[in-house]
């Protein structure tokens, strides 16, 4: 079994685990962790593609690897934004639930301005 196949299995497993967690964990921070797991699984798929593309004296195809680097930075930025929102929500309301019903207030919908 070549290493990239193994990495492929790991990548798929990470995607599967992450999907499970992202769908089922109620806590948004746990969802975020699950999202990052899926993310690293997807990046591994790029890694496999890069590794299989070894040619012309390169031991990898540089294009997908460069994409992974960009992707990691973007994923981090997303995590930071999500964390900021979670913390602020927690500080403002003491709750972090995403349940839509929990936030429907019987107010008159007055627009704050």
């Amino acid at each position: 079994m070549s290493p990239w196949v193994l990495a492929g299995l790991v990548g798929a497993a990470l995607v599967g685990l992450g999907l499970y967690g992202l769908i089922l964990h109620p806590h948004p921070l746990r969802k975020l962790l699950a999202f990052n797991l899926i993310g690293s699984g997807v990046f591994l798929v790029f890694g496999i593609v890069a590794r299989r593309g070894a040619a012309a004296g390169f031991s990898f195809d540089p294009i997908p690897q460069a994409m992974v680097i960009t992707g990691i930075v973007v994923a981090f930025a997303a995590s930071a934004l999500a964390v900021a929102l979670i913390l602020r929500l927690h500080a403002e309301s003491g709750r972090v639930t995403l349940d839509p019903e929990a936030w429907t207030k019987p107010d008159d919908g007055a627009a704050k301005s």
Binding site: Y20, H27, L37
Partner: protein, 316 residues
């Protein structure tokens, strides 16, 4: 038969095991810690995939900086009370969602196994172009990031600015302009301070080195910048320095330096080399290094800003 395959399998099992832990752990904080450890091991997987640049990035950003971010968040949220975020889903839903996730993962495995052989690759084109637009860069990744797909990279830097502003924007109105809350405790542990005093200067030097060699060897602005960012964050955790005010002019300039210089260089392309985002052969390497230097600065500032969070009016 070498021992490597066994090591590979062990590594893979460990990574998946930690991922399972991250998902299955009951406690929020335990899950976060599991994820940070997972990120470090994942860097090793990248080494095994002949991706040292990605490994460095994963270690620095994916594990290091993300780790600080998540652990800080986990701490601030405190021990999550059971059911605080809503009820746990029922067994039937768990089974159903699990089955669907398994199906998707299974489909992915099946597809990965039948990826075409020989694999399509842009490596030959990249090699051919090394004499052209990416002139003089020994590290093909850097050539891709700063030259062939420079447009992606510049946009990604704009994304970072937006993320910083987005993080800042969730703060309170009256706190606007102030500094974010300190990263470390009021009385930092002696060990943290010691570590910061010892490590930070060394780390900073290594960071600059990684950037400098990045043109030809693994490394570059991303990895170097991430390391610099990590060092600054350690210093902040040790309370040697504090997060800067969000209205500090120098901070804003540093944040936009990378994309701004990149944008100007890209706009100057038609004058220099006949096309936007093109660089003249003779000066490609110095120009790229020049751009990268500013990107290093922006990354080194942006990542800690993202971790530090929105401005906070209170002093402590």
């Amino acid at each position: 038969m070498s021992v490597l395959p066994f090591l590979d399998v062990a590594l893979a099992l460990l990574v998946v095991g930690l991922a399972v832990w991250t998902i299955a752990a009951r406690d929020l904080f335990a899950s976060v810690v599991g994820y940070v450890a997972y990120g470090l091991l994942l860097a090793l997987v990248w080494v095994r995939l002949y991706a040292p640049d990605v490994a460095l990035t994963e270690a620095a950003v994916g594990s290091g900086v993300t780790g600080v971010l998540l652990i800080t968040a986990g701490k601030r949220l405190g021990a999550a009370r059971a059911g605080e975020a809503g009820p746990s889903p029922g067994l039937a839903l768990k089974l159903f969602a699990g089955a669907l996730a398994l199906l998707v993962a299974g489909a992915l495995v099946a597809i990965i196994l039948i990826l075409p052989d020989p694999a399509p690759s842009l490596a030959p084109q990249a090699a051919a172009a090394a004499d052209g637009p990416g002139a003089g860069l020994g590290n093909p990744i850097t050539a891709v990031l700063i030259s062939y797909r420079s447009f992606d990279t510049m946009l990604e830097k704009v994304v970072l600015i937006l993320a910083v502003l987005g993080v800042w924007s969730v703060g309170a109105d009256k706190a606007w302009g102030a500094a974010p809350a300190p990263l470390g405790r009021r009385n930092p542990y002696g060990a943290t301070v010691f570590l910061a005093q010892m490590l930070a200067p060394v780390g900073a030097v290594i960071g600059v080195h990684i950037f400098w060699v990045g043109a030809d060897a693994p490394g570059g602005a991303f990895q170097g910048g991430a390391l610099l960012a990590a060092m600054w964050m350690i210093a902040m955790m040790a309370r040697i320095t504090e997060p800067p005010r969000v209205d500090a002019r120098w901070l804003r300039l540093a944040l936009v330096a990378g994309p701004a210089v990149f944008l100007i260089a890209g706009l100057a392309g038609p004058l220099m080399a006949g096309s936007f985002f093109a660089f003249p052969h003779a000066f490609a390497k110095p120009i790229i290094l020049f751009i990268e230097a500013f990107m290093l600065l922006s990354i080194a500032v942006a990542l800690p800003a993202l971790v530090a969070g929105p401005p906070n009016g209170r002093s402590e």
